[in-house]
Amino acid sequence: MSTVLTASAERQAREDDGELAALAARCHYYMALMRETEDRIERKLYRQGKIVGGVYVGRGQEAIPVGSALHALPDDVLLPSHRDMAVLFIRGVPLRRVFAQYMGRVDGLTRGRDGNMHMGDMQRRVVAIISALAATVPVAAGAALALKYQGKDGVAFCYFGDGATSRGDWHEGVNLATVQKLPVVFLCNNNQYAYSTPLELQMACANVADRAPAYNMPAEIVDGNDVLAVYDATGRAVAHARAGLGPYMVECKTFRMTGHSAHDAAHYVPPELFAQWEKRDPIRRLETRMMENGWADRAALEAANARIRQEVDEAVAWAEQSPYPDPSTLLDDVYENS
């Protein structure tokens, strides 16, 4: 893979800053919460048969939704992809409702009408993805067009993986956004596999960011397993978009530390790649850094992780009490008045 940028000089200069310690703690909370939630879903509830259907997790990619979405302001709209669960938490979606969603219960965000990460809430300005990837890219352009139309300085955060950039929708959406100079931040998690298909069978260029010049769009490549680097890069992207300068892309290099889904053992991924990327685990890297900089000690981090496990325990217990939807509601809500 190509060069990965390390932490920016700009940030190095503020390493001692208390503000940075606080940011690191927030990043740690959301990343660890996403990891614990998805572990519970994939390794426990799914295997217990409490989750039917597909389970797709973002293990190893947590730095990307966290480092980016922490920049979102209330007017901004976010369009997470299926490995970006932390976006929901950052926007205030209750954890218990996420578990209820995965278990097909009535208290899930879709009331049992859809599963896994297919959820959204326009009150929180989060748009639900559909399974056809990249379909949210034109939708993000339209949401950004609306923000501009309404005279707001909001930004659309549009998330997608490397594979999604092969779809026509991606190109149509990016083209419309750049032609109209719409305030969109395009956030790519390049995890190097689209299901079983490796990057080199997906595109002839080395980086997703290489696609950007064709649209006259600024782009940068960042270490997607370094949450503070993702935070910095997204900050530049958001400032650009919010200033009315048009879209900006951040390609976050990462690795999918699982199969495509819970039923995929990923035999096609060379084991040494997993081993190599395991060493770059974004949560452990952040924890090490926090301890090295004196922002937290081992005991504090363990206490934080224990609180998260308890939060997850409580959310799972609550979701398991949530009823399945009543079959008599099958026909409801196809239309506004139905």
Binding site: L109, V127, A132, A135, P138, V139, A141, G168, D169, V179
Partner: protein, 323 residues
């Protein structure tokens, strides 16, 4: 002053944009060119480029952007240059727009305007009637006006509707028909068929340009003593079966007519609905006149053979009348 079908749509859109600042149009060549058929002629001069957005040739982006803007509280009206190109935005319509409310209670108040229909020598890619692709998709509304009055009233209802509406406007009617429209604001409800000619012996159920064909056939058969009722469906989804049933209960015979191709056309759905619900009222088999199961051909002799016309409708209607 008489208003054409095209002008009626234009007036309806214009008035909705004057009424509600959240309404805007987007599509290919809708701005300075005024749209391929000039439905939005003069719009950009009056409403500006903020509300009349010329887009790249990207139907998926046009529909997708409409969805995004709709989710954010605007009321976009997207134009497909020809209904034939709606295929390029198909996923956005059937997978994104149609399912948002059912899945996550999100409102997608968009209109996708689609000039459809044959008889203009447009060939296989400028003549199709793709309405049934969308009638198969719960969550969408599919509207096919036949008259200038309904075109204006239905485009207004479509703009005000909080669900996605696919609005098929028949190109062959654009400048062919006209009528006096009432002054001032009015709407026509989506999901309501209309009896456009009353009769006793036989019901013809149809929509779009074929309403005029059915009316001509009814006039011709009136000379033979047949009293034919014509029902204009106006909306295909949600389908107003009740109005059809009421008419068939009265006449006991029904001929289903559409310009769309035969297999999977609305006629099949209506025929089953009628036999399921009011079979005992029927005095004759249910017949249909449709285009055959072929692409729309280009050459005039072939296209004429393809399209249903008055003679074909008269032949089947006469058979039913005499049955």
């Amino acid at each position: 002053m008489s208003t054409t079908y095209l002008e009626a749509i234009r007036e309806g859109l214009w008035e909705e944009m004057e009424r509600d600042p959240n309404v805007f149009v987007l599509g290919e060549d809708v701005g300075v060119y005024g749209g391929a058929f000039k439905v939005t002629a003069g719009f950009v001069e009056h409403f500006g480029t903020r509300r009349v957005v010329d887009t790249p040739i990207s139907e998926s982006a046009i529909v997708g952007a409409a969805i995004g803007a709709g989710l954010m509280g605007l009321r976009p009206v997207a134009e497909m240059q020809f209904a034939d190109f709606i295929t390029c935005g198909f996923d956005q319509i059937v997978n994104f727009a149609a399912k948002c409310r059912y899945r996550w209670n999100a409102s997608v108040p968009i209109v996708v305007r689609s000039p459809s229909g044959g008889g203009i020598h447009g060939g296989p890619f400028h003549s199709q009637n793709p309405e049934m692709w969308f009638v198969k998709t719960p969550g969408l509304k599919v509207v096919c006006p036949a008259t200038a009055y309904d075109a204006k009233g239905l485009i207004k209802s479509a703009v005000r509707d909080n669900d996605p509406v696919i609005f098929f406007e028949h190109k062959g009617l654009y400048r062919r028909i006209k009528e006096d429209l009432p002054a001032g604001d009015y709407t026509v409800p989506i999901g309501k068929a209309k009896v456009v000619r009353e009769g006793r012996h036989l019901t013809i159920v149809t929509y779009g340009a074929m309403v005029w064909t059915a009316l001509e056939a009814a006039d011709e058969l009136a000379r033979e003593g047949a009293s034919i009722e014509v029902v204009d469906l106006r909306t295909l989804l949600p389908l107003d079966r009740e109005t059809v049933f009421a008419s068939v209960k009265k006449t006991s015979k029904v001929l289903l007519v559409h310009e769309d191709t035969r297999t999977g056309g609305i006629a099949g759905e209506l025929a089953v609905s009628i036999t399921e619900s009011i079979f005992e009222y029927l005095d004759a088999p249910i017949l249909r006149v449709t285009a055959p199961d072929t692409p729309v051909p280009f050459s005039p002799t072939l296209e004429e053979a393809f399209l249903p016309n008055t003679a074909k409708v008269v032949e089947k209607a006469r058979w039913l009348y005499r049955y």
